[in-house]
Symmetry: C2
Subunit: 257 residues, 2 copies
């Protein structure tokens, strides 16, 4: 079996499930630490800051984590925008603090009007008609349309509530414009993660529970993948895919580093 | 030329344009009145009551109109729901007063929770995440998903702001469920209009400026159509359609009753 120099690792469904601990997830990270193998948690979440995500892992899942080990779709969005916009460009954001913070830290000028170079849409539980209107008018006036992630739902205690993908669909319908999407299974988040870790595609493996996000992100970017059957994807679903994950395990305990 | 016993007539782009009067629109209605030919204004608007729409025609466009001459997508939605739900059924509504009023008048019980038999989504400029969430959870729990109309935009002084179609796309994405759509070009609004006027399809002609709503509504329902080039659709667009309107005129002055 090939030895990978570094790991990109999904969180929910892979290392824990909501508030539920996965002991195999903790053991997997402990083994990586023991062998000094670098890893980066790569998550489609755009609402939380890396500090919040790291604190959740450290406090609620006994996995001591620092913010620099977290790569969210918000950070990936900021990294992508740096490559296509001039410094301090004016942008309009539909999103929560995690996204706004990442974009401010990258030097962008968060505007409340339609005279902007890009519109960024992520999950925003304070969505309203005015925000949808400003985004629509700005994109129709020529602003680039960037979406953090297409996740259709957010798992909550009430059930599956609308995800970023729902708000993006609203703006896409109102503008008849297809956004550039940053997060898994799209490429920008993988490009950004490789750059941040200073890695080549051959060095790394993407680990996750969701074929349609984690595994396709690897397949679309020529990065090897490890599907763990601890979350979303089932054996039956994988049997029906034309391109399989590079590796599959029932639990991360079954994976040899 | 065939003589039609009755007319279904679109409003914006056909009889006026926003706040702009169309003298040919007024003359057309005057001729129908003079010849005692019955007509019904059939509009995808779900936010205004028939009384408001009639008042706008009477006051701002010098076309004296009574509320019973107006058939909105809100009324058509209520008429449709009566055919599929028991009396006084509990429903959840994302919509403005015109829609809520029509549904209350039809005897439905407007709920604020997810335990409902149907979710109705129209344009709602007070949209928020909680409304999208209740709609999503209710549909996932088995409620029918009904959409007033798919109009992607609302023409305003600020530009093309998001229409009902944008909000419907959000709920559709979050539920992975396709709604039953009531308004033009779909069938329920035409079925409802025929029933309200006690007419047969052969008796009537649908008049409008928009091929994708007005004209397709006629084509989809075996109702003859008259396209007037005073609004959305252009000659070039019509040349590229496979099924043409029954009749086409530059202005309603060119149409002989």
């Amino acid at each position: 079996m090939k030895k990978y120099k570094a790991y990109f690792i999904d969180l929910d469904g892979t290392i824990y499930r909501g508030k539920t601990k996965y002991p195999s997830g903790k053991r997997f990270i402990d083994r990586l630490k023991k062998e000094n193998i670098p890893y980066l948690f790569v998550t489609n979440n755009s609402t939380k800051s890396p500090a919040d995500v790291a604190a959740n892992l450290t406090t609620n899942h006994d996995i001591t984590t620092t913010p620099d080990q977290i790569y969210t779709s918000a950070l990936a969005t900021a990294d992508y925008l740096i490559t296509i916009l001039p410094p301090h460009a004016k942008i309009y954001v539909i999103g929560e603090p995690g996204l706004c913070e990442a974009l401010l830290n990258a030097g962008f000028n968060l505007s409340s009007d339609t005279d902007v170079q890009a519109v960024i849409v992520g999950l925003d539980r304070d969505i309203n008609y005015e925000k949808l209107t400003v985004a629509t008018l700005a994109i129709n006036a020529g602003a680039k349309f960037i979406a953090t992630n297409r996740d259709t739902n957010l798992p909550t205690e009430r059930g599956m509530t609308p995800g970023a993908g729902a708000l993006i669909a609203a703006v896409q319908t109102a503008t008849q414009t297809t956004p550039i999407v940053i997060a898994k299974p799209e490429s920008p988040i993988m490009t950004g993660a490789l750059k941040r870790m200073n890695l080549q595609k051959l060095d790394v493996i993407m680990v996750g529970d969701n074929y349609n996000t984690d595994i396709l992100a690897g397949i679309n970017n020529d990065i090897d993948t490890l599907l763990v059957y601890s979350g979303v994807s089932t054996h039956e679903q994988i049997q029906n895919t034309s391109v399989k994950p590079t590796h599959e395990v029932e639990t991360l305990d079954d994976w040899q580093l």
